[in-house]
């Protein structure tokens, strides 16, 4: 990395921060409980739209991991999500009716919240359908992980997005509020992921899984990216570039070892393929507010609720140790 390229990155990062500041004008605080954030608390940042049915489990899951406060942006929900979140004692909520797409899929808003409230905190940036799994998460809280990362002078923690799906048509088993979505969407693809390294930002670009094989076989280049760096010890001036796939400064993207060893990483279980997808796909296609002009949603909408991603080689989710053995995540030297 030359001086010139470092400088270029710095400019780019600054520009994103400025952009976040500008976009922050679109946010209106509904309820701001950030004053109650404790020193050393782990925070979560989320953008959402019409996710009411998912929220109870989402919040509980991450509370159980040890998230201390949720910073959430409601992008024009009309299903009562905002009312529900307002009542939660550990949620600070902002509301905006502005364009999701124009805020780079919510990242400008979250970069701003990060700048304002996350400085010095470990911060988990997840969508309402993403659930963090990390080594030993069944016996150790998230704080154990972040303390260990601190002790090892590590600032970011990578986690691949793992698409989960049910056996049979996705609308066969309805998802009800409070349910564990992975009781229904219990299956995943164990080993068909393709990786490339992005030379500009130093992050990995991972594609594959059920979406690649079912929807993008004819144009694998466009298959959704699965690499994510959701957990970061945030500092002012950090910025997510595209979703949580890419961060600046670039060092934060280096969640992998380059000399043959393994760094500790986790997995984000993705509870997208439930019966709730149908309504979502229809709505989002009309809005056209999603990445690559909602290509993905179009593909889902075409297949309808009869979509079945299950195969005889699908793996049934058991626990993190299974994911570790399959090579989808790693303990690194955490023991």
């Amino acid at each position: 990395m030359g001086i010139l390229s470092s400088y270029q990155m710095r400019i780019r990062r600054r520009r994103h921060c400025l952009r976040a500041r500008r976009k922050s004008r679109e946010l209106r605080a509904v309820v701001d409980r950030t004053g109650t954030i404790r020193r050393g608390a782990i925070l979560a940042m989320t953008t959402l739209r019409n996710e009411r049915v998912r929220l109870p489990f989402f919040l509980d899951y991450h509370r159980r991991l040890g998230v201390g406060h949720f910073l959430m942006v409601d992008n024009g929900s009309d299903d009562g999500s905002a009312d529900y979140l307002r009542e939660q004692p550990d949620v600070s909520l902002w509301r905006t009716g502005a364009s999701y797409k124009a805020s780079r899929f919510g990242m400008d808003w979250l970069n701003w919240l990060g700048h304002r409230h996350c400085h010095g905190h470990w911060t988990l940036t997840v969508d309402p359908d993403e659930f963090l799994v990390f080594p030993f998460c069944d016996v150790r809280p998230l704080k154990a992980l972040t303390d260990w990362l601190d002790g090892s002078n590590v600032r970011s923690f990578g986690a691949m997005l793992l698409d989960m799906y049910p056996k049979g048509p996705i609308d066969a088993q309805p998802y009800r509020e409070g349910d564990d979505p992975f009781e229904i969407a219990a299956w995943f693809d164990g080993g068909n992921y393709m990786i490339e390294r992005n030379a500009t930002y130093g992050n990995l670009w991972i594609q594959g899984g059920p979406r690649a094989r079912a929807f993008f076989a004819d144009r694998p280049k466009d298959a959704p990216a699965l690499n994510k760096t959701p957990l970061v010890r945030w500092r002012r001036g950090y910025a997510y570039l595209s979703s949580t796939h890419t961060l600046l400064p670039r060092g934060l993207n280096q969640t992998y070892d380059r000399t043959g060893g393994e760094k500790a990483t986790g997995v984000l279980l993705h509870a997208k393929f439930l019966d709730t997808l149908g309504a979502k796909a229809t709505e989002e296609m009309e809005r056209g507010q999603h990445y690559r002009s909602s290509t993905e949603y179009r593909a889902y909408a075409e297949r309808g609720g009869g979509l079945d991603l299950w195969t005889e080689w699908s793996e049934r989710y058991v626990n993190w140790r299974q994911l570790e053995i399959l090579g989808l995540m790693s303990k690194g030297n955490w023991a």
């Binding site: 030993f136 154990a144 303390d147 691949m160 990786i195 969640t255 990483t265 080689w313 303990k331 030297n333």
Partner: protein, 564 residues
């Protein structure tokens, strides 16, 4: 009162207080040193939490810098305080705020009573040390280290390099024979006194003040010659990871720690409620009173370190993506690539699978479709037979297949008509074994009955691809094992060649192939080759044409199935 505890604290005060109280309540005086950098308010709260805990004292505070003299200084202050206040103690143990006793204090005292004049301090000469992470063993004692390793790593490294280049060396004072070892010791009061009250102490201190990480060498060195008996090990279980950080213990290590029979462990995560509850509980039952045996824990952490340093070969994920050339082994398992045999023999994959075992696929890199064994559309890991997905990252397709099917030998066909992008990777992969019959692709062309111009164009294309493959196999960077015969060579002695191939890929199965595969007829081949040559496509990969002319008729009988 025969045991005194020195405790170095800079964080997790609640836990440190718990442990200090535990020792004090069981009759062991405790002297605590708190890092000067800790804010006065916090220290005040800490002291308050230990009011009435018994014999607990606080020393004046020193600003402690990791790897620097101040750590020893703080220890000296605490040790002097202990010896002055409690001349009656026989052993003094150095602990940190994140240490936790794993066995009842009474057992520790009994153990020390049984070894009244033994110093428990790991103390080994620099030649024997294997655990330093900075590669500085001997040089800790002979260079100068004015810069902080943590905060100014570049200056630190640069200054070390500079001293090495100009050959700078400090003189080790007479009478000092450098020894290294764990910082956490348990010395007899006699030895400790001998070190601290040595008339040469100013000289020792002046020297060690500039030694790198003196807390791992000051007492370890000076105990030598002043001790009645040194047991060169630490009573405190403490493991380091590849980055030189101590491994941390959590609640789920409870059984591991229990079975270790060690007296103390470091470092405990402050949130490990269960560990603190269990090991500090007043009703902790006495153990079997065995010698400490950290072997099991050693293995767990050694495995973790190996995982971090070397990883699992052939695995690529968000935590492991080696530089090309740094990966060690590229793929997770050995595999076999067969080129040309299927053109020459009928139903070759089935024949080969019977003899070599494992899974024998068709052309995995066929341009139209991935030919998995048995015509499967999907294999383990949900790899599909879709050629477009495969061609997106052809190397990783193979990495994935081999990773997912570990434990079962994979073999596949690969000819010049297949997608060639993956060939570079395979030829550079020591886990690949190639069996090649060069020029065999002419056989299907011969049998196709297609018009000559088409055959000619196809032959030119295939020969070009195959020549590239042959060239690669001879490249300097090639690491694959390659068994290669020309068509002519194979046809003259097919069974010998096949046996050689089987010996290479399945050496354990020494049985002779009883049944030969059926070879396609080669009638008209010499004519076709001559015609190609005369039309400008010179066949160069088939070997000696005359052999082929003689070959088939001469060797056909041996290719008949032996059983009938």
């Amino acid at each position: 009162m025969s045991l005194g505890i020195l405790m170095m604290v800079h964080t997790a005060f609640g836990r440190a207080a718990q442990v200090a109280r535990h020792f004090a309540e069981r009759g062991c005086p405790v002297v605590i040193h708190v890092d000067r950098r800790v804010r006065a308010k916090v220290v005040k709260g800490f002291r308050q939490s230990l009011y009435g805990a018994g014999d607990v004292h606080f020393t004046p505070r020193v600003r402690v810098e990791w790897g620097a003299w101040s750590m020893v200084e703080a220890t000296q202050i605490a040790a002097e305080e202990m010896l002055a206040r409690h001349p009656e103690v026989r052993h003094v143990m150095l602990a940190s705020g994140s240490c936790l006793p794993l066995r009842p204090v009474s057992e520790l005292i009994d153990y020390l009573d049984a070894h009244p004049d033994t110093d428990f301090i790991e103390s080994v000469t620099t030649e024997q040390v294997t655990w330093t992470i900075d590669g500085l063993e001997e040089e800790r004692f002979t260079l100068r280290f004015p810069f902080s390793w943590r905060r100014h790593r570049r200056l630190f490294d640069g200054y070390v390099r500079l001293q090495r280049r100009i050959g700078f060396e400090r003189r080790v004072p007479a009478g000092i024979e450098p020894h290294l070892g764990s910082q956490w010791w348990c010395l007899t009061a006699d030895t400790l006194r001998a070190i601290l009250e040595d008339p040469d102490r100013p000289a020792h201190d002046a020297y060690f003040r500039h030694v790198w990480i003196p807390d791992e060498s000051y007492f370890q060195t000076l105990a030598r010659g002043r001790s009645h008996r040194i047991d060169s090990r630490s009573l405190t279980l403490s493991k380091f990871d590849v980055g030189g950080k101590p491994h941390v213990f959590y609640d789920d290590h409870l059984h591991l720690l229990r079975r270790s029979d060690c007296f103390m462990a470091r470092k405990i995560w402050p949130g490990a409620d269960l560990l603190y509850e269990t090991f500090l509980s007043p009703s902790a039952e006495r153990t079997k009173r065995t010698e400490p045996d950290p072997g099991k824990i050693d293995r767990v952490f050694a495995r973790a370190n190996a995982r971090r340093a070397h990883g699992r070969p052939g695995l690529y994920n968000q935590g492991r993506f080696p530089h090309w050339g740094w990966e060690g082994r590229r793929t997770a398992a050995r595999y076999t690539v067969l080129s040309g045999f299927d053109d020459l023999f009928e139903d070759f994959p089935a024949w080969f699978a019977k003899r070599a075992g494992g899974r024998v696929h068709g052309h995995l890199y066929h341009p139209d479709r991935v030919e998995f064994a048995g015509g499967e559309r999907l294999v383990r890991g949900n790899l599909t037979d879709d050629a477009r997905l495969r061609d997106h990252r052809p190397e990783q397709f193979l990495f994935n297949l081999l990773w997912s099917t570990r434990g079962e030998r994979q073999t596949f066909l690969f000819g010049p008509g297949d997608r060639q992008r993956v060939a570079d990777m395979m030829m550079g992969d020591p886990d690949a074994t190639f069996g090649m019959v060069t020029g065999a692709w002419i056989v299907p062309l011969l049998r196709s009955g297609r018009p000559f111009p088409e055959v000619q164009a196809e032959a030119a294309r295939l020969q070009r691809a195959e020549m590239r493959l042959i060239e690669m196999s001879k490249a300097r960077w090639a690491r694959a094992r390659v068994l290669s015969w020309s068509l002519a060579e194979l046809v003259t002695a097919p069974m010998d060649r096949l046996q050689a191939l089987l010996d290479e890929v399945a050496p354990r199965d020494r049985a002779q192939p009883t049944e030969a595969p059926v070879m396609h007829g080669l009638d008209g081949l010499p004519d076709l080759l001559r015609r190609l040559r005369d039309n400008g496509v010179k066949p160069v990969v088939m070997g000696d044409l005359r052999q082929i002319e003689r070959g088939p008729t001469a060797t056909m009988p041996t290719l008949r199935p032996a059983a009938g």
